[in-house]
Symmetry: C2
Subunit: 429 residues, 2 copies
């Protein structure tokens, strides 16, 4: 049986998971593929710490360059966008296919890396970069290849989804749940990459590249995180039939593409709204297939390893067939332009804190009318607390973001409007 030698650069959590999976399941994979995917080398600066996986000590090295020379395929699990990029470029130039889980690197340097792969006539596989164990890259690149993609909605950050689920279930506020999530290891000590939406934005840029044939980079991706979601917002959303999720939204409207990441109200009775805790889900709507949804663990040592090793099996089949670049992704834009956020059409949820006095609703609805924004529902409950401030929640029909912003600016200038107006977008899926 043909054997391919795998070298892993980066023996952290995911690296250890990949090693464990290969040690445990290489035989099953060989039965299925006809190729033995063999763990041959692991490089890391630290090769003494116990990672809880019984790799033969002689395969460990601190010399990543030597590893690249010795193996048939290089798995980059260093992370970050500096040395990881160099290792990948070096492997590609040496004619070695690369498997990576590095979403930030692909989002930022995808074009350069894929150009290098093309020049060297080798492949880069990256299933683990988006939604962990869910084979969404393969689904979009191959399973749905016959579709023009109309929309993608992704819940792709487990930390955010975990925090929102707990806020909802426990009625606890953001700061308290974040602190507890950090204690439990579900959120990083420096949580900004997750909770401010950047991690989801990296993944959105990768899915958008597959859907529309261009490495967009991050510049055209609009990003908002979940820090501003209050318990009140979750409760009003619930009352109105919605849940709030941090959603990546990738859409083609006419010939233009939108890529955005922000908290979004989605109807409670949809499958997507019922994806909770650390789980991820990606809804893909194609012109031919209609709506499909893919669900599973978006992170974690083993789930991520599942995706990395699936890529290794693809590489193994390629090498054993003597073929490269057998993959349904080539750059070649399938759209006209990226829509700026000001031109996006959306429905909106607005929460205002207003003085409880006559004429308030009249003034606010007048401003919306002036900007041609139509109200679809409005809640003002009786005052719960002492004081003269009450919340007013408005859902709008579809409106243009720049008009909505202008209307909100005007509202915030009214004496009766206290505090900032909270704005969340709504998708009806």
């Amino acid at each position: 049986m043909k054997e391919i030698k795998v070298g892993i650069i980066g023996f952290g959590t995911v690296g250890a998971g990949v090693a464990a999976n290969l040690l445990q399941n290489a035989e099953v994979i060989a039965k299925r593929t006809g190729v033995m995917v063999k763990l041959a080398r692991i490089a890391d600066l630290d090769i003494t710490t116990d990672r809880g996986v019984a790799v033969p000590p002689e395969i460990l090295t601190t010399d990543a360059g030597k590893l690249i020379d010795e193996v048939d395929v290089v798995v980059e699990l260093v992370g970050g966008t500096t040395v990881a990029r160099e290792f990948i470029l070096r492997a590609l130039r040496a004619g070695k296919p690369v498997v990576t889980a590095n979403k930030a690197l692909l989002a930022l340097h995808g074009r350069e890396l894929f150009a290098a792969a093309e020049a060297a006539n080798v492949d880069i596989y990256y299933e683990a970069s988006v939604a962990g164990g869910i084979p969404i890259i393969k689904a979009l690149r191959e399973g749905l290849v016959s579709n023009r993609i109309h929309r993608i909605y992704g819940i792709m950050n487990g930390t955010c989804n975990y925090i929102l689920t707990r806020m909802e279930n426990e009625g606890a506020d953001f700061a308290a749940v974040l602190a507890d999530a950090q204690k439990l290891g579900y959120a990083e000590a420096e949580p900004s990459l997750d909770i401010d939406g950047f991690d989801t934005a990296h993944k959105a840029a990768i899915l958008a590249a597959l859907a529309y044939g261009r490495w967009f980079g991050l510049d055209p991706v609009y990003v908002e995180g979940i820090r501003d979601i209050s318990l009140d917002d979750l409760r009003y959303a619930d009352e109105l039939g919605y849940r709030i999720k941090l959603l990546a939204i990738i859409k083609q409207i006419d010939d233009d593409v939108q890529i955005r990441v922000h908290p979004t109200l989605i109807p409670k009775n949809t499958l997507l709204a019922n994806i909770s805790d650390v789980f991820n889900g990606v809804l893909v709507e194609g012109d031919t297939v209609g709506q499909t949804l893919f669900y599973g663990r978006g992170a974690g040592r083993l789930a991520t390893a599942s995706a990395v090793v699936a890529d290794l099996a693809d590489v193994a089949l390629n090498l054993s067939c003597g073929c490269a670049r057998r993959v349904a992704f080539r750059e070649g834009a399938q759209f006209r332009a990226v829509t700026g956020m000001g031109d996006v059409q959306s429905r909106y949820y607005l929460r205002l804190t207003v003085t409880d006095c006559p004429g308030v609703i009249a003034s606010i609805s007048q401003i919306l009318a002036t900007h041609d924004i139509s109200i679809s529902s409005l809640i003002q409950h009786e005052k719960r607390n002492a004081g003269d401030q009450v919340p007013l929640v408005i859902l709008t029909h579809s409106a243009c973001e720049s008009r909505l912003r202008a209307a909100v600016d005007e509202m915030e200038k009214l004496d009766v409007v206290r505090d900032r107006v909270r704005i969340f977008r709504i998708e009806d899926i």
Copy 2:
């Protein structure tokens, strides 16, 4: 650009969908794959009926044999297990890769067809045979290839799911909903293939083959359909926190495999229980990835075409790379034996109709105790109607099917037990 010539045998609903997709999206597919997938020939006995798709008339032929000779890849959409089998074997022997949506043929003759494909060193692709547009074959064969598969649960028959959803939502009984579904075109005039579970069984046999490396045929697949599900059962299930779905269950317990299709109570709060109407969903649990779920349209002209054309793209990439048999499926059993239904362990829902008199619950629970079956919950409501008969619903803890059957046989002999005892299995997912 390399071009591959596609020939479709069978110009029915799906054939027309595939033709429409190729005519509309071949250019996008070419941008993505670098290969032009060209609709070259369509064979059918009837080439005069208008199928609502504007294919060039000169590509139509009544001669399937000539088509096989002329094209690079053959799409078999004839259906059935007679001529379809002959066309496929003929194409394979002529060295032409085959794409098929024919679940019955694969379930029954998979081993023969794949042996012929191996002998000819060409491929058979069959994404459309299971769950329509959902790329579940690719997910299981490639995306989750690094996993030992613990369990698969599939809602894979749109007709059954549609009927059960309507019964539940409208409180209408099976016969009424079936009749209406037939009128609306959601159920066939001869509905047995769907509602008696055979269609789902075909699909289960195919997924089991991928998961465990053997073409099982249908013999080891236990099958029950949905005819016996009454509104009462749906209501009691609901009261107990469950929904009833027609589920394909494929499981490995220790080294043995179970393949079964039957109505199953699953917890209401799971994603699987919330897959409704004609939609399909497949949950796959692997040792490495954990639980994943795949959702979408399981049937219909376009959804099925999406899967067929995805296979064509795979074939196109293979042909353009000059590789064949680059696929992660080889027969080679990854299990010990198939568990007979009598040895299956399950939880059970039992609904009895009993005489409302003292000692009934005592006698019935005594029978269960004698057979070492433990009760997890029991409902007996006050009598709703006149008469002396009341329903008694029992949920059991896990028990062996043969013991459960023996216990039920004894119960049915009691004077106080009227009518047959209804038995449904429970999966806690």
